[in-house]
Symmetry: C2
Subunit: 320 residues, 2 copies
């Protein structure tokens, strides 16, 4: 891809061409050098989107909720994009959610854009690629972006925390819900969605969440608790309203700019970490890394001293 091609592609994305946007997202995913040029063009667009991060344990019904929210958006004649994050499996080296492709092909409606992004979550790749993808969607004029994660790993938490509004999806009957609180998932919630709310245990879960929210610091946003049966589209309107209420609260408090800043900070940090991790890996695979590991194994240097040497070498690409 030459520089001229990239500039022409960026112009087509800014003009709202869907095929150009799809191509740009593929390039952002695969090639960080091209990403540098593309993102520079997108950043000058001055366009912003509100993002909604959706997280929760595997099987909680996040994809179904996304489908219900897409239907809600089109019923309201609003345009909505979806970024579905697919971690790459370290074992198979392939993306693990082939069913996402079906979701993409189903999005024939002009008011909807669905895209899955693939990266190695273990290497923090999803945290790095997501802000780039969001900025591409913004530049293409999408006013709202749902970001759906697969699991509840660190990388996913970073991603959803960078969103304007974060939805945490839970199910009734999860046993000891306090365990989920312990896992840190609850603290990122701006809206709690009790999905599969037609199941037994919904009152207990509602009660647990109400107690949790009641203990929130007073000046903090108190996350509303919404019940959904996403596969029947029940509760989609209420979820939509809760997202809107949170956004209004942020606007009223002048907090939207702070969220935007957090998004940019997390993007900067994720990309910086990605480069640093790649440099660490390169040093560890080199003769210098071999020597370092041998001196460490023999007790000649300590683990912290070794890590300082490793970081210093990683910061000097020429010495790698």
């Amino acid at each position: 891809v030459s520089s001229i091609d990239v500039e022409a592609l960026a112009a087509r994305v800014l003009a709202g061409e869907r095929a150009a946007l799809a191509r740009a997202l593929t390039l952002l995913e695969r090639d960080r050098e091209v990403a540098l040029q593309l993102d520079a063009a997108f950043g000058r667009s001055g366009r912003y989107a509100c993002t909604v991060g959706i997280t929760g344990a595997p099987g909680a019904g996040k994809s179904t909720l996304v489908s219900a929210l897409l239907a809600e958006a089109t019923a309201r004649d609003q345009r909505l994009a979806v970024l579905a994050l697919d971690p790459v499996s370290p074992l198979t080296r392939g993306a693990i959610l082939g069913d996402r492709l079906r979701m993409e092909s189903a999005a024939a409606d002009e008011r909807v854009f669905v895209r899955s992004m693939t990266a190695d979550a273990r290497a923090g790749g999803l945290s790095a690629v997501t802000p780039l993808a969001v900025r591409a969607l913004e530049a293409a004029g999408w006013p709202g972006v749902l970001i759906e994660t697969v699991g509840v790993g660190q990388s996913e938490l970073d991603v959803v925390e960078a969103a304007t509004t974060t939805l945490v999806v839970l199910n009734p009957g999860w046993g000891d819900e306090v365990q989920a609180v312990k896992a840190g998932l609850m603290e990122v919630a701006d809206v709690f969605v009790i999905n599969k709310a037609d199941r037994e245990g919904v009152e207990e879960l509602q009660h647990d969440l109400e107690r949790l929210v009641a203990a929130w610091p007073a000046r903090r946003w108190r996350p509303p608790i919404v019940r959904t049966v996403a596969h029947q589209r029940l509760g989609a309107a209420e979820t939509w309203a809760a997202i809107g209420a949170h956004r209004a609260w942020l606007e009223q408090r002048g907090e939207l700019a702070a969220r935007r800043r957090r998004f940019l900070e997390l993007g900067l940090r994720a990309l910086a970490r990605e480069r640093f991790d790649a440099a660490l890996q390169e040093v560890l695979g080199s003769a210098a890394g071999e020597s370092l590991l041998q001196r460490l194994a023999s007790g000649e240097i300590s683990l912290p001293a070794g890590s300082i040497e490793l970081a210093a070498r990683a910061a000097q690409p020429a010495a790698g």
Copy 2:
């Protein structure tokens, strides 16, 4: 803490004093400068432990399994240490598992050493502190260390993957087990433990796991599937045997050294990342970081270009 104190403390740890070990672990947790001196002394001991990482979803019964394995160890008159990892809650800034203290105080047996380690999992702190703690336990002469994680986040996966043997704890009736496979948890397993095996659905889970293991690459270790009812100590002997079988396989293949190397590599990388992340945070909080964010928000620079500038500043502490 002066240097002389630290050297005296290290000597007492090497002599096997329990109180000195407990004090050293606290210092390693809190102060990376002291850690540098302590770890240098521990690294010269030339002692190694076999480590067993235990992971699985919250509520799967990991702590109960650890208790059952401790009982199994003492029944065999073997010495065993436990590191229980407690992520710090970003909301409360406190450790989230107070019940761990009970577990520690219960360990009155001389052949057992139980310790919880606290760090901010979101900042990768657990990945950094765990190898330091393991090296302290090794230096103190503990031949085996169980490492118990709270959840299944990225930080926890890094930690258990650095272990000699990794146990993945599952429960029957978890619904779509394939979801767990997708979450990447299965790929780190050296031993599958079906805990709460007296519950319905155990045959289905066993069958699912057998199919999964059958699809493993041929040269890879095939994880045995063990059934336990940990709160009744059922299956603890089988779990112990499965851990031993995996270790014997590693020894026979000459793979123990490779696992040791991976442990040291992950430790180096985690400590290097921890320092880098702290430096990034410092730059972002400085006037230079403020200027960077403003230029990014205005479209003057791109996200990737900003991340390169950020990383360069983070690598030069004087310019921070």
